[in-house]
Symmetry: C2
Subunit: 589 residues, 2 copies
């Protein structure tokens, strides 16, 4: 071992000890002939001192050290003159007796500091240097800790971690698969799994009762911001359970994580909200309930006053922005522009200001009396000093726009503290979504999700209105406006599955082609079962108080799906192509 202690562990209790440390030179400075060096390793930073009257060779070596040199030092633990209470090792320093340069370093292209001067591109290219910075190290330490806690919890609940294959079969459903040409089976391909869904259900058929896996998944999507072509899931499935059992088990897991990793107590039980309530009150199926500012329908109050825009739509909804009555015309105009951007898509924005002096000001003054406006503001839950913002149009679309506006205002008003955690379950999702264009139903989750037992009459009805009302035994775990996980109770009954395909307009032949393998497996005694999956990267990021998952992945890819550090993907040899019996067919740009 090149060291007797790490750079993070020496305290006042170690005074007088002779120690050997090894690590990287964070910085060094001369002060009155003395050389101070901050030595860094994964565990912390320890200050080294080379005295002015030390052996000249030692002084020369100390002086020669550059940033990020790797050194080994022997010295004595002394009490510091000026202590640094911000550092765990801030009470001590090492009086250096010898320095052994283990490796030199060329000057790194950016500073290895919490706030670095490196741009995103250069840091991505030198990811192994970026990873030296404390924020990234802490992110990966957090990730390790969460994974370890997840495994301990699930093991304690009798879950078995079972590895499922990565070289599987391309499926005609869902997002695009990454495929892998098989050299031994020319013309054939493996696919990388988008999730182990089929395998975990097979494991339930096989009687494994409680399965989990922290597992890589792959999706060949056109990447949106903060999506990765490979990502990690906490994937789980249980047998002989109903929805309540799944929710309790994984609520327990998340509660354990909050407590053991963050020392945060979350409500017990966690709040649950129906999908309908979430849409009506928050305009989102992943509501951020850290702040209120709920949506309120004001359709009946808003209509019948001659304002054609409101009169011609099925839904008028409002939110009350606390304390924002004083916002200037310029600010409300900017907000109007903001909601009209294609990303939000509203046609316009109506406001009502409940001024502190009791007066009421609105952008639609000429259609409404002060009393009318006050009634609307009242219905929106506004008080004096608040600003009421109103959107209108098709119901769910408008609610979604209001939901986006609400989150934006939450950000602007500082109501979304990343250190505050407000988890909840969203339940009672609709089982089916009607598509006007193709005039048929689609499964909101997937075609194996079970309807709620109490909705079976509706499920077997032939009326579209009944089918639209069927709720699924499906659930999402939502934290601070993010869906962290979701799942469902699966259909295990052949008759019910047949009905599901019928409702979805999937013929027997198509069902057989698309799902034949799993349907066949289910004939051999499938138990009632259900499960869910958590987005592990996202769990880590939110626990770390960050929006982006990128820093919680050791070696992420950029938005073009490239790893710029290793320069991948890249061209391969003609010999490799020949062995795989494939040819490039690259189109001219």
């Amino acid at each position: 071992m090149y060291r007797t202690k790490t750079c993070g562990e020496l305290r006042i209790g170690n005074l007088g000890q002779k120690v050997t440390l090894a690590g990287w030179v964070q910085r060094s400075r001369k002060l009155g002939g003395m050389t101070f060096i901050d030595l860094r390793d994964r565990y912390g930073i320890t200050q080294l001192v080379v005295e002015a009257d030390a052996d000249p060779e030692l002084v020369a070596t100390a002086t020669s050290l550059g940033r990020e040199f790797v050194i080994q030092v022997v010295g004595e633990v002394l009490e510091r003159q000026s202590k640094n209470p911000k550092m765990p090792t801030g009470d001590i320093e090492i009086k250096v007796e010898s320095i052994n340069i283990l490796n030199k370093s060329v000057t790194p292209p950016f500073t290895i500091e919490d706030d670095t001067d490196g741009g995103e591109d250069i840091r991505a290219k030198y990811r192994y240097l970026d990873l030296r910075r404390a924020p990234l190290r802490k992110a990966l330490e957090l990730r390790h800790r969460i994974a370890h806690e997840v495994r301990n919890y699930l093991d304690s609940q009798n879950f078995m971690e079972i590895e499922t294959p990565y070289l599987i079969k391309s499926t005609p459903e869902g997002a695009r698969d990454f495929v892998v040409p098989s050299r031994m089976n020319p013309g054939q391909f493996y696919a990388l799994p988008q999730s182990p869904q089929t395998f975990k259900q097979l494991l339930m058929v096989a009687g494994y009762d409680r399965y989990f896996q922290i597992v890589r998944c792959f999706r060949d999507e056109d990447l949106r911001a903060d999506r990765q072509p490979e990502f990690t899931q906490i994937d789980c499935e249980m047998s002989f359970v109903e929805q309540e059992d799944v929710l309790e088990t994984f609520e327990g897991m998340m509660r354990t994580l909050f407590k053991n990793v963050l020392d945060v107590d979350v409500p017990n039980p966690l709040p649950r909200m129906s999908w309908y309530d979430a849409m009506d009150s928050y305009g989102s199926d992943k509501p951020d309930i850290r702040f209120d500012m709920r949506l309120h329908e004001v359709t009946s109050l808003a209509q019948g006053h001659g304002f054609g825009v409101f009169d011609s739509v099925p839904y008028v909804g409002a939110i009350a922005v606390p304390g924002a009555a004083g916002w200037s015309r310029k600010e409300t105009d900017a907000l109007t522009d903001w909601v009209k951007r294609p990303q939000v898509g509203a046609k316009g924005l109506v406001y009502i200001k409940l001024n502190e002096d009791g007066s009421v000001k609105s952008s639609v003054d000429k259609f409404y009396s002060t009393e009318d406006l006050k009634a609307i503001a009242d219905a929106a839950g506004a008080s004096v000093g608040d600003l009421v913002l109103i959107l209108c149009g098709e119901k769910r679309k408008t609610q979604t726009q209001l939901g986006v506006l609400r989150v934006e205002l939450g950000n602007r008003l500082g109501l979304r503290d990343p250190k505050v955690f407000a988890p909840l379950w969203i339940v009672d999702f609709p089982l089916l979504e009607w598509d006007d264009e193709t005039q048929r139903f689609y499964a909101m989750h997937h075609p194996f999700t079970a309807p709620k037992p109490e909705h079976l009459d509706l499920f077997y009805s032939d009326r579209k209105e009944d089918l639209e009302k069927v709720c699924a035994n499906a659930y999402d775990f939502v934290l601070n406006g993010n869906e962290l996980g979701g799942g469902s109770i699966r259909i295990h009954d052949a008759q019910m599955q047949k009905r599901m395909f019928e409702v979805l307009g999937i013929g027997e032949e198509e069902a057989d082609y698309k799902f034949g393998f799993i349907i066949n497996a289910f004939k051999f005694g499938a138990p009632p079962h259900g499960g869910l999956a958590f987005g592990f990267d996202r769990v880590c990021a939110l626990f770390g108080g960050q929006d982006s998952i990128r820093d919680y992945i050791a070696f992420p890819k950029n938005n073009q799906g490239r790893d710029v550090m290793i320069d991948s993907p890249s061209e391969i040899d003609d010999i490799q192509l020949e062995e795989l019996q494939i040819k490039l067919d690259t189109k001219a740009e």
Copy 2:
């Protein structure tokens, strides 16, 4: 929840309790009007009884149950008349009050019993049914337990589990890569990792100090028996360590596994053997030391007696097979045929029998006196009653043949009890292997493996004889004749790396092309580091007392790299090919 208890937990202490169980019908039989049903779940088997005088509908339901039906039963825990001491639940049975058929099953294509009547192919196709059998369930439970213990141990030793990417870059070294065409970067490919070697060394450069990962690796090889195209490694790396630190750390890990998983105490410290001793004494770099039967060189005793075969070779070696002097001529002839098979490749086999009556019989009687033969037998460590077997030829090749013969004889004599565990370290591997054909050295491990510090003079020598003597800081963990893991201390010094490339005849340009990326990363302050990787599938199989890894993988592939259950690999859509901008170029057979 569909149950209040599992099928594995009821004991005499539960008598009189009303319970609900759910599981699969293992078997059912009628006996004097009563119906006995064995109900199975992951946790065990519980006997159910439907009395002859029970409700006729209940009796009818019980009678209707087929094998592998999924049922839920309510009943009372009673003491059994005839207890079954072989079953943990053998003291009790359930007097059934109601049966709810949760799912029927068609008749499975083979019996779900410890010893099944299903052949390998049919079991592979219905893997989800094969997995219901107790031996496979126990194999996967063992795998889960070992993974969990590994993680707990390494976490306790400050190792961080860090996930490395699966979509990486194809490298020109080593075995064949599986590649993944990139749709977003037409004409370019990712590669699936053969191991995270580069990334774990980068993590050391990044200061992560102690890394591990239980990680899938991929190798597109022509499959030999018991190799899988995807396999799992326990991959580890440490900084600021010397070989001794790595050995101690992972010896600790393996000792913990043996104790916590198998309750087996292994020697502390574990035996260590140099590669030279292993070859000389066992004819293998992964010696099975559960039994002795060592190799002994008898060259000088064997030569000079006019037997041209021995006189013309550089090496004559012998093993003494205990108690085998009485083997018939037919048996020794069969052994001779066995060693002459191409898999072993010996030219012939000479024997000496030390008969119980004191006489000596040999296949080369006419060249050697009884005293000569006794001297050779003595040197081979033989006693009266033993059979001495002798091979000759080029030294290492002959030792290897003797090693293979030794293991075969160990099998035949029952000396290789899979419940006996004899782990050891093999150390002091040669750094370099000379290749006569290309007249150059190759790295025995890989070009980043460090020479032993005490051999640096030899390493910088220009004499071939010196370089051949250089030992590497490399080590293998061997158990019962299998290499379970191996690794090395890496070169972190640029000058030493340069010398290594020079010794290997790798020019600067070639080094830059093949290893430029990692060499560049090392310029920014690489710490001294080293590590190793264990073959996790093999660890599980050996801990389970099995030779084959296949039952320790939930969904393995066959020797053609196919998953016959899901029928993968398979053809993909023309649309997919078009999107990937590749074309099939399948050659006619």
